[in-house]
């Protein structure tokens, strides 16, 4: 007895009654030193850092911070120089810069490389599990017997640590509470407040909507940290399977939209890549494959024939143990890199052709049965189990249904670049839908070495940063941003809220709740995504992009006023959709600003045939001031000399890699 229909049959009209008190129109005003927007790993670590300095801290999240953002787990702590790894922090950022043609966030990656090990130890101290303390993997080639750390992928360089990530978010949440951080759950942040209500000025707070009660929140702060992730929902939406997008249904475009509206500077927002159709994936890591969480699983075809592996440089390898060692001359494995210096061992590159020729018969399966015991147990039981969305959805559910990795072969539904089994990652996927997905290091906010944006008082961390990505990066940059925002809050003057700005925002946010009918949020979302699919696809030109902007303006003026919400939950979804509209404009304007094509950014402008011409081999930034959009170029190596700059800004920081 738990579906709505059943409830209706039993309770009749009372089941239509909203279960929470309705507080539309009411306001709560709060004042704090540091306001953290988003309660994922970046947000929680930022809050902990700032609270440890004795400051008052609020964390606002539209979901619930105990489980929001990576709350169901994480299995790898990547790019983490540590005592058992020969890779230095300087070397650890190389693979990404090389793999993405320079379009990487060397600044924030370097911060993470310097401090992600310290961050991990701090999470352990809070109660997160990071070591094989029960000696379950004693003697395994990926285990450091002294520290009991387990390493992944590359057992020579040990730059990635396996972790029991289901324990992380609950531990961070508990620590926030213990430190007296005010955790505001179900609070959708709707806008940033600026000095005198003007775009491009100092950020002095934010507004929020409680998506259970409809109450409006005004939060005044000396420093604000945007930890609200990137733009993910712009092309991808399935109105039936709303909760099953490519990456995470809570990541739509809220963080970028509020920062864009306040006047913050973005870069790489023109980048996009092919993405699978939303709503139709299989349970994450719940089907057989040899990558990521399942690395280095053996794959077989329908007749049990083993699919051969090659090393990162394409040389055939035979033994399972060779899959976890770099090829001769390779430095170390870089996450999902296709660069020959950093590519993992992988299945033969011409697998698709061999399948089409009938050499390997579909379907393929992951076969852990003959793998070394430690590999089988760590893949099925730790990696599948601790990675996000694998504990209950895959490990527990499949185990209860009888799946036994010692006896059973789990079917693979990927591996072919097309029907019926498309690719698993962007570079293997048949386009039409596009995404800015987490594995493609998408665009986002530009910051200085304090992780402060161009707007005074506004800091950013995690996936809110351009080319963010990775849990370890989110946690380490969050921790760092919390430290820097606290320093700023300790010396900055009191902020003043502009009441007119608040009133205008409150009216905007509550308007859909005053309508009883009109267009629902799903139709709006699907329509906004269609604009991007049709006018901001792989091939672009100025006229096409401008048509997209005309469509969006039309939607803003003629459709938005008719979108309704029956309750605060739906109102939250409507506001998210409004944010998507703002984010779409940010993306299209960023596409217009880059007057050149770029292979690295998945960006083809028909008018500019040359790929990556030297004078456009730079970051292009976009921002708004007084409603005017401006763009600029920023050299790809603007954060150099990297270690010197880091040292200059962190002379008093003591950590594992402090010199």
């Amino acid at each position: 007895m738990s579906t709505f229909f059943e409830s209706f049959s039993q309770h009749g009209e009372s089941s239509l009654k909203w279960p929470y008190p309705i507080k539309y129109g009411e306001e709560t005003e709060l004042t704090t030193d540091v306001l953290v927007l988003g309660g994922g790993p970046a947000g929680c670590m930022a809050a902990i850092s700032a609270a440890k300095r004795g400051l008052s801290v609020i964390v606002a999240d539209k979901s619930h911070s105990k489980r929001a953002g990576g709350g169901s787990g994480v299995d790898h702590w990547v790019n983490c120089p540590n005592p058992a790894s020969p890779v230095t922090a300087e070397e650890a950022i190389e693979w990404e810069v090389n793999s993405y043609g320079g379009y990487a966030n060397a600044l924030s990656r370097y911060i993470a490389a310097r401090e992600s090990y310290d961050t991990l130890l701090e999470i352990e101290e809070m109660g997160g599990k990071i070591r094989d303390l029960n000696d379950e993997f004693k003697g395994a080639p990926f285990r450091d017997e002294k520290t009991k750390f387990l390493y992944a992928y590359d057992y020579k360089n040990n730059i990635t640590i396996r972790i029991w990530g289901t324990t992380f978010k609950p531990a961070m949440y508990k620590r926030c509470k213990k430190l007296g951080v005010k955790m505001l759950n179900r609070l959708l942040v709707t806008s940033l407040l600026t000095e005198d209500g003007r775009q491009g000025e100092r950020v002095v707070g934010a507004t929020g909507l409680n998506t259970r009660t409809g109450e409006f929140f005004i939060m005044k702060a000396k420093a604000v940290i945007n930890c609200m992730s990137f733009a993910e929902g712009n092309w991808l939406f399935s109105s039936e399977l709303t909760g099953l997008p490519y990456f995470h249904p809570n990541i739509i475009c809220d963080g970028p939209a509020i920062a864009w509206n306040a006047g913050a500077e973005f870069t790489m927002m023109e980048k996009s890549s092919p993405a699978p159709a939303p709503g139709y994936q299989l349970p994450s890591y719940g089907s057989g494959n040899p990558k990521n969480t399942w690395y280095p699983a053996t794959m077989v075809d329908a007749q049990g024939k083993i699919i051969p592996w090659v090393d990162g440089k394409g040389n055939p390898i035979n033994d399972v143990s060779e899959r976890t060692l770099p090829a001769e001359g390779q430095k170390y494995f870089g996450d999902r890199s296709l660069h020959p210096d950093h590519r993992y061992s992988h299945l033969v590159d011409d697998l698709e052709t061999r399948i089409r020729n009938g050499e390997y018969m579909l379907p393929l399966y992951a076969d852990l049965t003959d793998m070394p015991d430690h590999e089988r147990r760590v893949i099925w039981g730790m990696m599948v189990g601790e990675e996000g969305r694998t504990k209950v959805p895959v490990y527990d559910t499949y185990t209860a249904a009888g799946f036994d990795p010692k006896k059973d072969l789990l079917q693979s539904y990927y591996m072919l670049g097309g029907e019926p089994f498309p690719g698993m990652w962007q570079h293997e996927t048949v386009p039409y839908f596009r995404g800015r997905g987490p594995f493609a290091s998408p665009g986002g906010l530009v910051t200085d070495w304090n992780l402060q944006t161009n707007l005074e008082g506004l800091f950013a961390a995690g996936n809110a940063l351009y080319a963010g990505n990775y849990y370890s990066h989110a946690a380490a940059t969050g921790r760092y941003a919390g430290r820097k925002a606290a320093e700023y809050a300790l010396t900055s003057s009191d902020s003043v809220i502009d009441r007119d700005q608040v009133t205008a925002e409150k009216n905007r946010v509550l308007a859909p709740a005053q309508l009883k009918s009109g267009m629902d949020w799903k139709e709006l979302r699907a329509g906004l995504c269609r604009v991007m699919q049709q006018y901001c696809g792989e091939i672009k030109n100025e006229n096409l992009l401008n048509l997209g902007l005309i469509w969006l303006k039309d939607i803003r003026e003629n459709i938005l006023p008719n979108v309704y919400a029956h309750n605060p939950h739906m109102l939250g979804r409507v506001i998210e959709s409004f944010n998507l509209l703002d984010g779409n404009e940010l993306i299209i304007n960023s596409c217009l600003a880059r007057r050149a094509s770029s292979k690295h950014l998945g960006f083809t402008r028909q008018e500019y045939q040359e790929m990556d011409p030297p004078d456009w081999h730079a970051f292009v930034t976009t921002s708004q001031k007084n409603g005017q959009i401006t763009s600029d170029k920023l050299s790809l190596d603007y954060s150099n000399p990297i270690s010197l700059n880091y040292e200059r800004h962190n002379s008093d920081y003591k950590g594992y890699l402090s010199h």
Partner: protein, 97 residues
């Protein structure tokens, strides 16, 4: 055999992202509290099992199940089109989630 009919709109699919066993569930609403998408709401009756109001928004992450302290009270259901199959190596038999 008794038949019944209702004037109902099509319900969103999948419509049963979780199953709650009313005999085990205590109605504590821990699952409602943490659900990352706010799919569930409290039962109109005190201590009744939560109601799945927005199943179409479910992310199938299982956080609600992880939070529940009553074993077997709540289980996650993958949509039919997402049920994965496996083969027993020795016998060739096929199974599914």
């Amino acid at each position: 055999m008794k038949y019944s009919a209702y004037a109902m709109p099509n319900l969103p699919t999948p419509g049963n992202c979780v199953t709650i066993n009313p005999d085990i569930c205590t109605g504590c609403c821990r699952c409602v509290e943490v659900c990352i998408m706010d799919v569930l709401i409290p039962n109109p009756e005190k201590k009744g099992p939560p109601i799945i109001l927005y199943p179409d928004e479910c992310y199938y992450d299982g956080c609600c199940v992880e939070e529940c302290r009553e074993s077997g009270a709540i289980t996650l259901n993958h949509p039919l089109m997402q049920r994965v199959r496996w083969k027993r190596k020795d016998t060739g038999e096929h199974f599914r989630v």
